[in-house]
Symmetry: D2
Subunit: 160 residues, 4 copies
């Protein structure tokens, strides 16, 4: 059930985020009190854990996520990693402090398939500086087997 | 109109690709004679050009691709780049030679929004060796303005 | 003939760079009017070309650059790439605008050996924005054969 | 005191490595029984710890490692990271199994200076598969403050 985020909602979000820390905000998204992003809905992601410097997102891969050769497209793990590292960094941002991803890098170590079942990306902040933050994430299945890992670099801003 | 690719089709594809070069195969996908991947359909990608060592994929960003702050999620450009670099490398593979992505890296230089209109990822092969190939891609709008750029590394295999 | 850069010289450099554009500065380094960096001297790099958005550095690999298995250590091409992309970005900076590398990524496609002879890294700016710049470089031999390629992301600052 | 590794020694090394596991070999290098690589000597690296899947290399930065603006060149941490991740992967290789670096990626989070004192790169294997291995490393000072972090991807081979 896709719930679209309209202009009004975007503004109220930005406004909310200028009064609320990133951690409070992510907790509301995880609790379903704030609708997830369009991409999160499109992909079927769930935010299952957020704490200071840490976030976990999950997805159940199916053939919507497949590439042409019967395994999940690299974009699935890449989008999951980008989301999870962004959430982890968000949990470290005070009210009024936002960020944008500068770059992301992912290694694929095993193919993800429907049979893999739910995979989770566990992301941890590595460094938060004055202008830049970095985080890493690992995509694992329910047995902890590794499928992909990577890092992201974000630039930090003050909302006006 | 999502057309699902079932098990049977996957097998017939793998079989096709063992008799057909990557370029022939990509040309059939571009012509719509072979259905696009699940992820390509989910994201709304179009393959608009394929030639030896080169591929162009396009997408019209909309709020399904958005992150929580009103711009396209990093996963959109990442998935587009992964697809386009993979297509470019595929065009260099003879029949029976396939590959898998080892790693991908993307830099985001400007936010992509609905107003940006159609963006295209132009991907070019950098190197094809005996076991590994690399390619780069740039995501630009219709005026050629740059939004993201990156590279991918693939490992090459022989189908049995 | 290693010429050390002492504290005094560093200050006079920073001062010079606050009056001089990055391009003027790099041209002076290329002309030998300003001593090269310690690392450039240690590695034996030469800056052979600088123009707007472009720089070429060369090195003749020998066994000082080797790893334990008889080929040049990955650090040789990495250091050459980091230098060349930095030079290319520097050529786009007005007086008083400096930068620092946020991250760098390199792909190795062939081993570099002493027999390879002089290799050059040709670096080009990809994007210069308000706060961030990116550049790419390719390490090739005198016949243009590719050995390594990569990108760097720099953050831009104003000298006080 | 640079001790050059000649052709004969290289051959005896390759031969040694075909009978000895990577861990045994790295322990001999760490113990000074096998001379370090040319690059390790040029940079002044020391291998201070090796165990299964783990390696630590150190360096005392000085003005030989500097770039043009009074801080250590990005190539110092990049070369240290490439060495340390390579050592960590080597410790997981049985006799006769060698590897080459496919790609490396490094993030710089703080400038390294002479005053920083000895820095160490602690590298850990992330994944060892049939054909590819990945490892990560962090460059820290003696207080554990982070200066750089990154990952490397290696391709595995059988010596003939």
């Amino acid at each position: 059930m896709t719930r679209t985020i309209n202009e009004e909602e975007l503004e109220s979000r930005a406004e909310a985020r200028s009064r609320m820390s990133g951690l409070e905000y992510m907790q509301k998204v995880a609790a379903g009190e704030v609708p997830q992003s369009g991409m999160g809905q499109l992909m079927g992601f769930k935010i299952t854990e957020v704490s200071e410097g840490y976030a976990v997102l999950t997805v159940r891969p199916d053939d919507r996520h497949y590439n042409g050769i019967g395994i999940a497209h690299g974009g699935l793990a890449a989008t999951l990693l980008d989301s999870a590292t962004g959430c982890a960094i968000n949990t470290m941002m005070p009210a009024g402090r936002i960020f944008t991803t500068l770059e992301m890098k992912i290694n694929y170590v095993r193919p993800i398939r429907g049979e893999t079942g739910v995979v989770r990306c566990e992301a941890r902040v590595i460094h938060v500086g004055g202008r830049v933050a970095t985080a890493e994430g690992r995509v694992v299945d329910e047995q902890g087997k590794l499928y992909a890992h990577g890092t992201a670099t974000c630039m930090l801003f003050q909302t006006r």
